[in-house]
């Protein structure tokens, strides 16, 4: 919210520089984004009278002016076409400063001395609204007489600073000049002076001009109306236009400007009705009727619904209460009599209406945040006072004021000790009383009891905690002490899930993998690129009702697509290799009942490409990772549809797949734009956590030697070596300590379609040295088992 500093100063002095002002306001609870000091940007510019204009000998467009600036006469060269002797103009003297940091220096222009510069409106940063001749071509020519040598800033309305406040959501009372002036006075320790509101009136009643009815009190707790007759429309004076301009509003005419000015000053949105256009001589505040529509001030036809509050006249709705007025009753140059409306509307109703119609206006924004019904009358009277001041019409004495259920005065019983304890600072009761009084609360102290009466405009203050905040923020947060936590403690520490995740991530990064974080929502089409079956549960994705865009509209049910996208990005940027992992939840929408949350499952996804990546390395990494958590997994050649069918596997713990891995299928690569081969793996972290076993006791080191045997078996090419090895280990029980595959051979001495697999076997007993006679039958049993189950024969 931008406010003219001068405007604030009418009600509260600011005896400090802008930086200190900003600091004080921020530290006492009123956010200040910035303070733009317009006055500081223009210095050394004074009123001067052009005495003479002479042609410049060396130029056909420059002229030489002699200018009286009061205490001296300057020679100034200008190229402006509109200068003439006798005019009053703004003169930037030697050393003057203009907006944008521009400095004016005396110099020579084409051989003629120039002791300054004559300024145009834009050069001084004066907006057209502030001074009528600003928009004219060339030098700004003053319209009235001013003392020569006088500072031009007050004349042009730029002797001000604009304070951009950042008002907190719970302080609608600060969305106005009086509000920030009240806070200014408290923050700076000065006094807040509310203006004395007196209205000169002519006899008459509102009823004589218009009949007002409020039908729906629940949505309109207060409605105040006052009539001004014999309206005299005209432009507003400079001070009013400058104040509106500082707030970022355009001046329209005196009446509209008064309503805006009063809104900015008091926080009450106001509306002025042209009574000649109010049909049937009545204003009705009521809910919209079914099927009713209205053409709003912006020229659009709006369909309304019966939960919306309307301002209607004898024939139909003329405005949407608290949102926008109607085209019909606009104030125009020929307005004779008018009605000022200042109402309080239910904030939720305004919010819903504004949402439903997609209309957000200055007024609706204020009503949504909350406008105080108690001060509505004051705002109308203030507007009427300005009508008096500007001579914009005759204010009729009568007032329509519908306020059937005045908000009760809120009283809060507090304890000084409790407030101090909550704050952790000992604040004396007397100090609390003083602070609360400065904030316009009534506070009475009796021992520890502090009885507080909340001013009407502070709708946000509901209980002792709020009082504590009020006291503390003015007392000063810098007085807060810092104490260590006391009292009963809790065990603390990371959750098992986070510990497991940290361990998995540490293993991965040490082994050369980089962690990534992708968005949790993706394009719904992405899942199609995986080539999943039609009934795959991952196809049932959780949709957002209001996504930023289609590309981020469903919660991902698998991490694979975003990993593939990230790999594609790295390939497209010619990064020669990448090993990436992401640990994140996926959202299982399948089987979710409406109103219930989806199941969130933690998954680890790995993706890699580049010279050092191969399937076996990835497989063993996953096996080691599972092994790290005490899970021994079995490898089976079953992958996902998006894997290369010959290079894909699942890792099973028991019967459940805890991980899948594989090379990306060429079709998948094509779908995701991966020119190079890539590996992909997914691991179920929830399953890992559920099956994780703590490490048990270690085995003692052997005391007796092992007997080793090598064994070469010839078997069909499609027999999985891992399965044979598992069988060997089983068949060699209990003395086979270790079995490894050390060579797989295909070629000359082996038949086509066969392979020779060499195993090294180590047998050992814990309590004796094994003899050949013990090992030989076991070896024979192993060979026999392999022959029986896999048709493998001992190689000759």
């Amino acid at each position: 919210m931008k406010v003219s500093k001068k405007w604030i100063e009418q009600y509260a002095a600011i005896p400090v520089d802008v930086e200190e002002y900003k600091r004080k306001m921020v530290m006492h609870g009123t956010g200040v984004e910035s303070i733009e000091d317009m006055a500081a940007q223009v210095t050394g510019v004074v009123v001067g009278r052009i005495l003479s204009v002479a042609k410049h000998e060396a130029s056909d467009h420059l002229v030489i002016c002699r200018v009286d600036v009061g205490d001296e006469t300057l020679q100034i060269v200008t190229g402006a076409p509109n200068v003439a002797a006798g005019q009053l103009v703004p003169v930037a003297k030697d050393g003057a400063c203009l907006p944008g940091g521009k400095r004016i220096k005396a110099g020579i222009l084409r051989g003629a001395a120039s002791q300054g510069m004559l300024c145009s409106g834009p050069e001084l940063g004066v907006p057209a609204e502030l001074y009528t001749s600003v928009g004219d071509e060339g030098i700004l020519i003053f319209q009235e007489d001013y003392p020569l040598g006088a500072d031009v800033r007050p004349i042009l309305g730029i002797d001000d600073a604009v304070v951009d406040f950042d008002i907190l959501a719970n302080r609608p009372d600060c969305q106005c000049v009086w509000g920030v002036a009240r806070e200014t006075a408290v923050a700076l320790g000065t006094a807040f002076h509310k203006p004395d509101i007196q209205v000169a009136t002519v006899p008459g009643a509102v009823e004589d001009f218009v009949h007002i009815t409020v039908q729906d009190d629940d949505l309109c707790p207060r409605y105040v109306g006052r009539v001004v007759k014999n309206v005299r429309i005209g432009p507003s004076p400079l001070w009013l236009r400058a104040a509106l301009h500082a707030a970022g509003m355009r001046a329209i005419n005196n009446i509209v400007d008064i309503t805006n000015y009063v809104m900015l000053e008091t926080g009450h949105p106001m509306h002025a009705f042209n009574l000649a256009k109010v049909r049937g001589g009545c204003v009705v505040v009521r809910r919209a009727r079914p099927g009713e529509s209205i053409r709003t001030l912006d020229g659009k036809l709006r369909e309304t619904t019966p939960d919306m509050l309307m301002i209607a006249d004898g024939q139909g709705p003329t405005g949407i209460a608290g949102v926008m007025g109607g085209e019909e009753s606009e104030i125009t140059g020929d307005t004779g009599d008018l009605l000022f409306e200042c109402a309080a509307f239910d904030r939720t109703s305004i919010r819903l209406t504004s949402r439903a119609l997609g209309m957000r206006t200055e007024a609706s924004g204020r009503f949504e945040k909350g406008v105080c019904p108690a001060t509505a009358r004051e705002a109308v009277d203030r507007a009427c006072q300005f009508v008096n001041l500007l001579g914009a019409g005759d204010v009729v004495a009568g007032v329509y004021d519908h306020y059937p259920n005045p908000a009760p005065t809120r009283r809060i019983a507090c304890s000084v000790a409790r407030i101090s304890r909550r704050a952790g600072v000992d604040i004396p009761g007397g100090e609390m009383v003083r602070i609360l009084a400065a904030l316009h609360f009534e506070a009475a102290l009796a021992g520890d009891d502090l009885a507080v009466t909340v001013p009407a405009f502070r709708q946000d203050v509901e209980g002792e905690a709020d009082i504590c905040e009020e006291v503390l923020r003015i007392y000063g947060y810098e007085h807060l002490r810092a104490t260590a936590l006391r009292g009963e403690t809790t065990p603390g520490g990371r959750s098992p899930r986070i510990r497991a995740a940290d361990q998995a991530k540490a293993l991965l990064w040490v082994l050369g993998w980089h962690e990534i974080m992708n968005f949790s929502f993706v394009s719904p089409q992405l899942i199609d690129r995986l080539g999943l079956g039609q009934d795959d549960p991952r196809r049932r994705q959780l949709r957002l009702l209001n996504p930023l865009g289609e590309d981020t509209s469903v919660m991902r049910a698998t991490l694979a697509p975003s990993m593939l996208q990230t790999l594609a990005l790295n390939q497209s940027r010619n990064n020669p290799a990448a090993r990436l992992f992401e640990l994140a939840p996926v959202f299982d929408a399948a089987g979710r009942e409406p109103g219930a949350l989806p199941v969130e499952r933690w998954r680890l996804c790995l993706g890699a490409y580049g010279p050092d990546c191969d399937f076996f390395g990835l497989r063993d990494l996953l096996l080691h990772l599972l092994g790290r958590f005490g899970i021994r997994a079995r490898v089976t050649a079953e992958g996902e549809p998006y894997h290369h069918p010959g290079r894909a596997a699942s890792l099973l713990a028991g019967e459940d797949a805890v991980a899948t891995l594989g090379e990306a299928h060429p079709d998948t690569r094509a779908a995701f734009g991966l020119p190079h081969r890539a590996l992909l793996a997914e691991l179920d972290m929830d399953a890992l956590l559920a099956r994780a076993k703590p490490m048990g006791a270690v085995k003692p080191l052997p005391r007796f030697p092992a007997v080793t045997r090598d064994m070469a078996l010839v078997m069909d090419e499609d027999v999985p070596v891992g399965d044979v090895l598992a069988l060997v280990a089983r068949a060699g029980r209990p003395l086979l300590e270790k079995a490894d595959v050390f060579d797989v051979f295909r070629g000359a001495q082996v038949l086509v379609g066969k392979k020779s697999v060499a195993f090294s076997l180590a047998f050992r007993a814990a309590d004796r040295t094994l003899s050949d006679t013990e090992v030989a039958p076991l070896f024979g049993a192993i060979v026999a088992a392999c022959a029986e189950q896999f048709g493998a024969v001992l190689r000759a």
């Binding site: 921020v26 006492h28 609870g29 907190l168 959501a169 719970n170 302080r171 919010r351 945040k369 909350g370 304890r421 909550r422 704050a423 952790g424 600072v425 209980g463 002792e464 905690a465 709020d466 504590c468 905040e469 503390l472 923020r473 947060y477 810098e478 807060l480 002490r481 810092a482 104490t483 260590a484 936590l485 006391r486 009292g487 809790t490 065990p491 603390g492 520490g493 990371r494 959750s495 899930r497 986070i498 940290d502 050369g512 993998w513 980089h514 962690e515 990534i516 974080m517 992708n518 949790s520 929502f521 949709r543 209001n546 919660m555 990064n575 090993r579 990436l580 109103g595 969130e600 050092d612």
Partner: protein
């Protein structure tokens, strides 16, 4: 030439020859030539028969001494050669220790994980328990129990993604407060990290997905001074002992009083710089005393217990710490960015 002269000449020859011998093969040659079965010294011994018997003992002794001397010479040379050959062998095994070789090297955690890890260390060290909550959350926990009833204007500040009317992507980690307070009794000391969502378009300083860490302490007689003490300790553990906190009044529906918390700028240690825009402070946390209404809604008696809560944006800490100018880098996964972290 008599035997004596022959011995002297022989020893001299050995001495001279050995000076030119540099390998064990050559050394063995000399040894054989002198001491072998057909060696010259052996030949002298064999020639003893021709020596008159009375001279034999003396000559024999001379030959034996010469033999011992030759052996000593050979051994000395042998040791020198062994040392030389070992040195040569080691030199031959020399590798170029500067030669780069291909390989993946170390990977790295994501900067958010690095920052979170540190933050969790600090808080678990203070006895906080780390808990988590769902990212797709009930409106009830995300808003209502955080004192933002339906149509509360504070909801507007948190552009919310909806799944259904009453189901949202959590806009902050605060709903975990409600989940914990409705299921546990004080004392409560928790921190809750996680992803949160706001409908912000992606740009250099905004992302619709980001990370927060929520902290909550509820107990008897928990004060705002405890909040400040906790956050001071956090700031100093994270950035150094010269860092202080500055509390500024603020508003959050679920805390009262509320405060924004600035930390001394860690880049300039408070002197004022580009990072802190010359103020010496960086805005890092939101915090406050848990609103009694929130306690009561969660079934914790606000007349007996009090508490404080705080929230910190992890992206902000990471971006400040690593001088990351564009937030998009955090989520696009370019390995050239990721590999800079350690």
């Amino acid at each position: 030439m008599n035997v004596q002269e022959a011995i002297v000449s022989l020893l001299q020859t050995v001495q001279e020859e050995l000076q030119h011998i540099a390998d064990s093969q050559g050394l063995e040659g000399v040894r054989l030539r002198m001491l072998g079965k057909k060696g010259e010294l052996t030949a002298l011994l064999r020639a003893m028969g021709q020596v008159p018997p009375e001279d034999r003992p003396a000559i024999g002794q001379m030959i034996n001494e010469a033999r011992e001397k030759a052996v000593a010479l050979l051994d000395a040379r042998g040791q020198w050669i062994a040392a030389r050959e070992r040195a040569l062998a080691l030199a031959n095994e020399r590798i170029d220790v500067t030669q780069p070789v291909p390989g993946p090297g170390l990977g790295a955690l994501h900067p958010i994980s690095l920052v979170l890890g540190e933050v969790l260390d600090v808080f678990t060290g203070m006895g906080f328990e780390v808990v988590e909550g769902p990212e797709v959350e009930l409106d009830l926990f995300n808003f209502e129990m955080m004192n933002m009833p339906p149509n509360h204007p504070a909801r507007d500040a948190q552009d919310t993604f909806y799944i259904e009317d009453k189901i949202v992507l959590r806009t902050h980690t605060s709903p975990v407060q409600a989940r914990i307070m409705t299921t546990r009794k004080p004392p409560i000391r928790i921190v809750c990290p996680g992803r949160v969502y706001r409908a912000d378009e992606v740009d250099a300083t905004h992302s619709p997905v980001f990370h927060q860490l929520e902290g909550l302490v509820v107990g008897e007689d928990v004060t705002m001074a405890d909040l400040k003490g906790t956050l001071d300790a956090f700031a100093q553990r994270l950035y150094g002992p010269d860092i202080t906190t500055r509390f500024r009044p603020s508003f959050f529906p679920f805390t009262e009083p509320s405060a924004e918390v600035d930390l001394t700028c860690s880049a300039c240690r408070g002197k004022g710089c580009r990072v802190c825009k010359g103020t010496g402070w960086i805005e890092v946390l939101g915090s406050g005393m848990v609103n009694p209404r929130v306690l009561d809604m969660c079934g914790i008696a606000s007349d007996r217990y009090s508490g404080f809560a705080f929230g910190v944006g992890l992206e902000r800490i990471a971006m400040l710490r690593y001088d990351i100018q564009d937030m998009r880098l955090l989520y696009e996964g370019d390995v050239r960015f990721l590999s800079q972290f350690r």
